[in-house]
């Protein structure tokens, strides 16, 4: 072990996350490897190791002969300080080698607020931030993940972005890189070839011009780059790699269990939900294969908990059959199954009652809005009757805590909608009185509201975020209306959501702002421990840009979005139609009931599995 590291580790919190060596971590002989990839996650080990995408691509890359993919995470503040003091560059967990010497530095970014952490990791690695300052082919800095559907705010820092699912394109990209390395191409030549791999976006091959009012005028490709870059997906989930044999951390992580991915995409079409649009179309993994992977993963890892993962698990067609099939195995292994993203309907409740063994703590539902009118406007297919029926069932079954999640600032929201959130909580309270089996235990009802952030590639991408004063006014309004002791109201005075709204729909000019904020100390800004709004405002000021231009301005349907050249498969016409229907108060049926022709099936050349 590196001597500097040995000296540092006794002084930092949770040192086990900085040493690697976990079960199933891939070790390779450097002499037999020609391409080394540092797979970076711009957040802590505990968060990054909980990410299924990271595990899939780690497996895919390490299955390539001659390629060694190693992991690297953002150190927590105490560790970063020690590393900087000891002049120890950022290293990969498997070999302990500095990632600045690797061929490829690949980031997986799921969240815009992780952008400053990317810059900090490059800096810790001793790699110049800007692509223009990195003249050599290596290290090649690339990024993938959902945040790349608008990567303009980091366009100047990454050499290229991978849009969509990475399983196939990363292999093609690494093969091209190896050819470039063998044949001695320069970086420009490599990038001009790489932009023709499906899903690969090379920002430096696009010129962006602006109108006088600051909006984007045009995005013009150069050197033969495609006018639009379409995201890449795996068309057949039964052929997609699943990491049944995967790293088992020796220290506790956030999702410390087997994650079994049932399907990709979501049939629901909630108008605010970016994941619901960008993961389309729906593709199922067959039930038998899911069951096989479940067994293999549990046996190899020794985990006794498994989560059936997807954007909306109760919509998996073979869910009951899958649970039937897994039940004896679960019994035998004392394995507990958990269902995230539960819908408040009878089907889901019945299933959960069956799966939930032992401790019954709390249930969480996300009605998102207080009135049926607003739920219709955002296309959240949930009625209050469904919610109350589910709560009655839960209370009758012995549950004594319910959490309810809402958003404030959704398009068309009125004070009446805000106040109705308190009514929903009161009705849940009433449902408890009616149906609780053991009233002595009492009940805890928690209402949480967050500040709505409009996201690119959604029906609400044209919408302004409500200003902070207005958000706080609505919070106060709701707080006044909640006056039972059993209902706890949680809200965050979260300025992070404002910066998230700015960056998620930002353009290329934000690169300067990001760098300025980073120079002032921005790093793990997804954590409230590190986020500072004044620092961001200063950075905007220095760059002569107005954050409200990005967050709080209503955009016209005709405006060129900074991400106009990024194609996720869903048509602009469909998003506009969905946006209009919100104001008409008209719902759109889920994809299973009726196909609404969003366009995403063009990616698989057949009807989707919705």
């Amino acid at each position: 072990m590196d001597k500097r590291l040995e000296r540092i580790l006794p002084r930092v919190q949770k040192p086990a996350r900085y040493v690697g060596g976990e079960y199933n971590a891939v070790m390779k002989d450097k002499a037999r490897v020609d391409t080394r990839v540092a797979f970076c996650f711009p957040d802590t080990y505990e968060i990054g190791m909980s990410n299924l995408g990271m595990r899939i691509l780690y497996g895919v890359m390490n299955n390539m002969d001659g390629v060694w993919c190693e992991r690297c995470f953002h150190p927590w503040g105490d560790m970063e300080e020690e590393m900087r003091r000891a002049q120890m560059p950022l290293y990969a967990l498997e070999s302990g080698d500095p990632i600045g010497d690797f061929d490829v530095i690949a980031f997986s970014v799921g969240y815009e607020m992780a952008f400053p952490a990317m810059l900090n990791m490059l800096d810790l690695a001793g790699v110049p931030l800007r692509t223009s300052r990195r003249e050599a082919l290596s290290p090649l800095v690339i990024a993938g993940g959902t945040a790349m559907y608008n990567c303009e705010p980091i366009a100047d820092f990454i050499d290229l972005a991978l849009l969509g699912e990475g399983e196939e394109q990363i292999v093609e990209l690494l093969e091209l890189y190896r050819q470039a390395k063998r044949e001695g191409w320069d970086k420009g030549a490599f990038l001009r070839r790489a932009c023709h791999i499906g899903g690969v976006y090379v920002p430096s091959l696009y010129d962006v011009s602006y109108n006088d009012d600051g909006t984007v005028k045009a995005i013009t490709p150069r050197d033969g780059a495609p006018a639009r870059v379409r995201k890449r997906i795996v068309t057949d989930m039964d052929k997609a790699y699943y990491p049944a044999k995967t790293i088992v951390p020796s220290t506790e992580i956030v999702q410390d269990r087997v994650t079994l991915e049932l399907f990709r995409g979501c049939i629901r079409g909630c108008r605010f939900c970016q994941a619901g649009y960008v993961y389309r179309p729906v593709r199922n993994r067959s039930k038998d294969l899911c069951a096989q992977y479940a067994r293999e993963s549990v046996e190899d890892s020794g985990y006794q908990e498994m989560t059936l993962s997807s954007l909306s698990t109760s919509d998996y067609r073979g869910l009951v059959e899958l649970c039937d099939e897994l039940e004896p195995f679960c019994e035998q292994k004392h394995l507990s199954l958990s269902l995230p993203s539960l819908r408040a309907d009878n089907f889901s409740m019945a299933l959960m009652e069956r799966l939930q063994k032992g401790r019954k703590t709390g249930l969480t539902f996300a009605p998102e809005a207080g009135t049926q009118r607003l739920r219709d406007a955002i296309n959240k297919n949930l009625t209050e009757d469904d919610l109350l029926e589910s709560c009655r069932r839960a209370f009758a079954g012995g549950y004594s805590a319910v959490k309810l999640y809402f958003m404030l600032g959704l398009p068309t929201e009125t004070d009446e909608d805000v106040a109705a959130i308190a009514d929903v909580a009161a009705h849940v309270m009433h449902a408890w009185r009616e149906s609780a089996t053991n009233k002595n235990r009492g009940v805890r009802i928690t209402v949480s509201t967050s500040w709505f952030v409009p996201k690119p590639h959604t029906a609400f991408q044209w919408e302004p975020q409500i200003p902070i004063e207005e958000y706080e006014r609505r919070v106060a309004l709701l707080r006044e209306r909640i006056n039972t002791k059993t209902v706890t109201y949680n809200w965050h005075p979260s300025p992070t959501s404002f910066m998230e709204a700015v960056i998620s729909r930002g353009d290329r000019r934000l690169c300067d702002v990001l760098e300025a904020a980073f120079r002032k100390g921005a790093k793990l800004d997804a954590w409230e421990d590190y986020f500072s709004l004044p620092r961001w405002l200063e950075a905007f000021d220095e760059c002569g840009l107005d954050p409200h231009f990005y967050a709080n301005r209503r955009r016209e349907h005709g405006e060129v979005m900074p991400w106009a050249h990024i194609d996720v498969g869903v048509s602009d016409a469909f998003l506009m139609r969905e946006h209009d229907r919100c104001y008409e108060g008209v719902t759109t049926p889920d994809c299973r009931t009726k196909c609404s022709a969003c366009g995403a099936n063009c990616l698989i050349g057949r009807a989707c599995d919705g």
């Binding site: 060596g21 079960y23 292994k333």
Partner: protein
């Protein structure tokens, strides 16, 4: 049913796995190996597994002991090999056998303490160290369970200590009390720093070597 004991090594990366994380890790290692631990019979059953003398984070050891119970009746043969297939780097099971002696029977710990002197060991350090540990009282500050500081005298807790010098390094072969109360050998480097500030080391490393009972017989 069998009450078994593992003798294992914990070193390198694994020396940073905390006690609780190590318990979790072992539970999974047992399941990977297809060995079903016996569970407690309470309302929230938990596997019957315990580490005899938890090792402070950052230290290594050749002689860690872990007690566990399984349903089958076995003398433990073959279990070490099975477990070793699924261990993280830095953990190695040396042996698995019936736990004959209760954990309260061990009394002493042999450890190797290494003190790094990056700029060379100051002249006369060995003599000074020998003199220091021949005193009747050497006090160090130790954080108690209640988070406040207590002064403890390390001398009565030391059975024997032998100092040795190499390049930029001083080592001690120390036998000290292991429980009721025990001494963390790392405290000896603190004691040196407090009593002989000119001879404070740049870094201290501890490796457990053996456990003994009160008659200085090996404890297994």
């Amino acid at each position: 049913m069998a009450k078994l004991r593992l003798l294992f090594v914990k070193e390198n990366q694994a020396s940073y796995i905390s006690h609780l994380d190590l318990m979790r890790t072992f539970q999974r290692v047992f399941l990977r190996a297809g060995i079903h631990l016996k569970h407690s019979q309470g309302f929230h059953p938990h596997p019957l597994i315990s580490i005899v003398l938890p090792l402070p984070v950052g230290q290594s050891s050749d002689c860690e002991l872990l007690d566990f119970e399984i349903e089958q009746d076995t003398d433990g043969a073959g279990i070490a090999e099975k477990l070793n297939e699924g261990l993280p780097a830095g953990l190695l099971v040396r042996d698995c056998y019936r736990a004959e002696r209760p954990a309260r029977d061990f009394a002493y710990l042999r450890a190797r303490l290494e003190l790094d002197y990056d700029h060379g060991v100051p002249d006369g350090t060995l003599d000074a160290l020998r003199e220091l540990f021949s005193r009747d009282e050497v006090l160090v500050e130790k954080r108690t369970k209640h988070k406040d500081l207590a002064q403890i005298n390390v001398i009565p807790l030391i059975q024997s200590i032998e100092w040795c010098e190499a390049e930029n390094l001083v080592t001690a072969d120390v036998v000290c009390a292991a429980q009721n109360p025990g001494l963390n050998p790392a405290l000896l480097s603190q004691a040196v720093a407090a009593a002989l500030p000119d001879r404070a080391s740049d870094f201290a490393r501890v490796r457990r070597v053996e456990l003994y009972d009160k008659d200085m017989n090996l404890f297994r």
